[in-house]
């Protein structure tokens, strides 16, 4: 039997690959409680990675898609609407399968992109890994969901603020950056917080579906499932992973709450939007 310190050393970074700890995962009767606690904790590295990158990249893409969706030009409006409909109307679980099976069809040798005098060879093999391909699917998904929230917020930007911007002679990008965008964020922020939470929870789906966990390096729920398969006891691993997720959720609420306070700092206290935790996990 390993001591707790040994399992910590062996498994706390194991999700990064087999060079980062014990080569093999604990098996069968060899599994201790500390193994479960630390290996599942190590899997949370991936959950945080997926969540942080997809939310931060998806945020800017979602702003762009929302502006396109809100514009009156049908050439911008329609494609943005179709994009949102496609990703919000279908299950993320199936999207993972679909994109994975599309990514594996890309040519092995990479794609040649002719750029006039030089030809750029783009290596497509990372797309079949969860770290890149899975992240792309998550980014596209959260872009669609957040864009929908942002469009709703753009629709309710106060008319008076826009008139004030006009009166100051602001137009175009200046007006957007200084008046429309901060208002949009302020209005959308409570629901955007929830979106960030759902997205974080749905990072558990990455390794459950199509993307392979190479060298048995997966996220927290992948390891929880591994332990349940090994011990046939769902009463230990699942509560551990649930506890980690509750902690992560609270951290997100904390960080987003700070941003919310900053976005609302010019308003009288009773008018400020409050963040309410309203989870609807599946997407």
């Amino acid at each position: 039997m390993r001591t707790c310190a040994e399992s910590f050393e062996g498994y706390i970074l194991r999700s990064l690959g087999r060079d980062w700890g014990e080569r093999l995962l604990p098996r069968g009767l060899d599994i201790t409680l500390c193994d479960q606690i630390f290996l599942i904790a190590s899997g949370m590295i991936w959950n945080v990675y997926f969540a942080v990158f997809s939310i931060s990249i998806g945020f800017f893409l979602a702003t762009a898609v929302a502006v396109a969706r809100f514009s009156e030009n049908p050439w911008l409006n329609r494609p943005a609407g179709a994009f949102i409909f496609f990703f919000r109307g279908s299950p993320l679980f199936i999207q993972f399968f679909f994109f994975y099976s599309a990514f594996v069809l890309l040519p092995r040798g990479g794609i040649d992109i002719p750029l006039g005098f030089v030809t750029l060879n783009v290596d497509t093999s990372p797309l079949t890994t969860a770290a890149v391909g899975g992240l792309i699917v998550l980014i596209l998904n959260t872009t669609a969901y957040s864009a929908e929230l942002f469009v709703g917020a753009l629709r309710s930007v106060p008319k008076g603020d826009l008139e004030a911007a006009d009166a100051y002679g602001m137009a175009g990008f200046t007006r957007f950056r200084r008046v429309v965008w901060p208002n949009m964020l302020r209005l959308a922020w409570p629901s955007y917080t929830n979106e960030a939470i759902f997205l974080t929870h749905s990072t558990t789906l990455v390794f459950l579906s199509a993307f392979p966990a190479r060298q048995q390096s997966g996220e927290a729920f992948y390891y929880a499932r591994y332990f349940v398969d090994q011990t046939f006891n769902p009463f230990v691993a699942y509560p551990i992973v649930a506890a980690y997720f509750i902690a992560l959720t609270l951290a997100i609420i904390g960080v987003f709450g700070l941003v919310n306070a900053r976005l609302n700092r010019h308003l009288p206290r009773e008018k400020r939007a409050r963040i309410r935790f309203r989870p609807q996990y599946l997407r």
Binding site: F86, I94, Q95, F97, H201, L205, L208, F232, L282
Partner: protein, 293 residues
């Protein structure tokens, strides 16, 4: 299926596809879409019933009942549901076998959990040893339905509770002034009117429920995802219908199926909403009244 399908290797393209798409495995694939619909059809009322119970518990004035309701709703909503979907069927299955074990084999002296094994006597196995595949499938399917009903029941309970609170308080007070009891006021005033307030939330939950159905695959049921993976994978010439990796097309079909489901139900809920808003004391009801007048 067709008479010309006996030797697929010599067929023309159109005929080849006609034969390929009507093989026995493809028929199982098409039936799996029926399983999705069936799951939705069974789970929706079950979750609604569960949610109604939860909402009544949340409203209850009895402290223990109220506590149970709050505990249920908050626990399920606070934990990632995927954990529940995998936890409930295993935990429930083991729970059932544990109870059956104590009923059927009272004189069994060994512990049930031996190391990493969950050992119950032969008579306590559910489904019974040697049960047909059909029974096993039905059992797995009902476990999935229970897991779905538990999770979505909590979401529904919260929505219904909110809707009950949203019915104008003055109307309930009027009912009480007419001498109705709390129960009568609930049945005659709150229950008929709450739906218009509940509908947006319920429609949201229904969309989420639709998008949760592919998780059946994780519970080991041969659902659409299972068949799409099976059928789409590359087939060598050993198979009657060899083809390269076609999974992307199969998953595209699944995506379109789900897009159609969500799009269709959005429209149905829109129509239902307009119907329910009629004669209600809401802005939309007022607008409809003016349009008719």
């Amino acid at each position: 299926m067709f008479s010309f399908c006996t030797d697929p290797s010599v067929l023309e393209q159109a005929q080849w596809f006609a034969c390929y798409l009507t093989t026995a495995t493809h028929m199982a694939f098409y039936r799996a879409f029926g399983v999705v619909i069936l799951l939705l059809a069974v789970t929706a009322p079950a979750a609604l019933a569960m949610g109604m119970l939860g909402a009544l518990a949340l409203r209850s004035r009895l402290a223990p009942v109220n506590m149970i309701g709050r505990g249920y709703v908050n626990l399920v909503r606070g934990v990632p549901d995927i954990v529940f979907f995998l936890f409930v069927p295993i935990a429930l299955g083991q729970g059932i076998e544990w109870v059956m074990h104590h009923i059927n084999c009272p004189d069994w002296d060994q512990p049930i959990r031996q190391g990493n094994d969950f050992v119950v006597c032969r008579e306590a196995k559910v489904p019974p040893v040697g049960a047909s595949a059909w029974v096993r499938n039905v059992y797995a399917f009902s476990m999935a339905v229970i897991a779905f009903a538990l999770v979505f029941g909590a979401f529904v309970a919260n929505t219904l509770y909110g809707a009950m609170q949203a019915v104008p308080r003055a109307q309930v007070e009027t009912a009480e002034a007419y001498g109705m009891t709390r129960g009568q006021a609930f049945r005659r005033i709150v229950l008929p009117q709450m739906w218009v307030y509940a509908l947006p939330g319920l429609s949201n939950i229904w969309q989420i429920l639709i998008k949760a159905t592919p998780l059946l695959f994780l519970l080991g049921i041969q659902d659409v995802v299972y068949w799409a993976r099976e059928l789409g994978g590359a087939k060598t010439s050993l198979f009657a219908y060899p083809h390269p990796d076609w999974r992307v097309w199969y998953f595209l079909v699944l995506l379109l199926f789900y897009l159609f489901l969500t799009w269709g139900s959005e429209r149905i809920f829109g129509a239902l909403n307009r119907r329910l808003a009629r004669g209600q004391a809401t802005a939309q009801g007022e607008r409809q009244r003016r349009a008719e007048a």
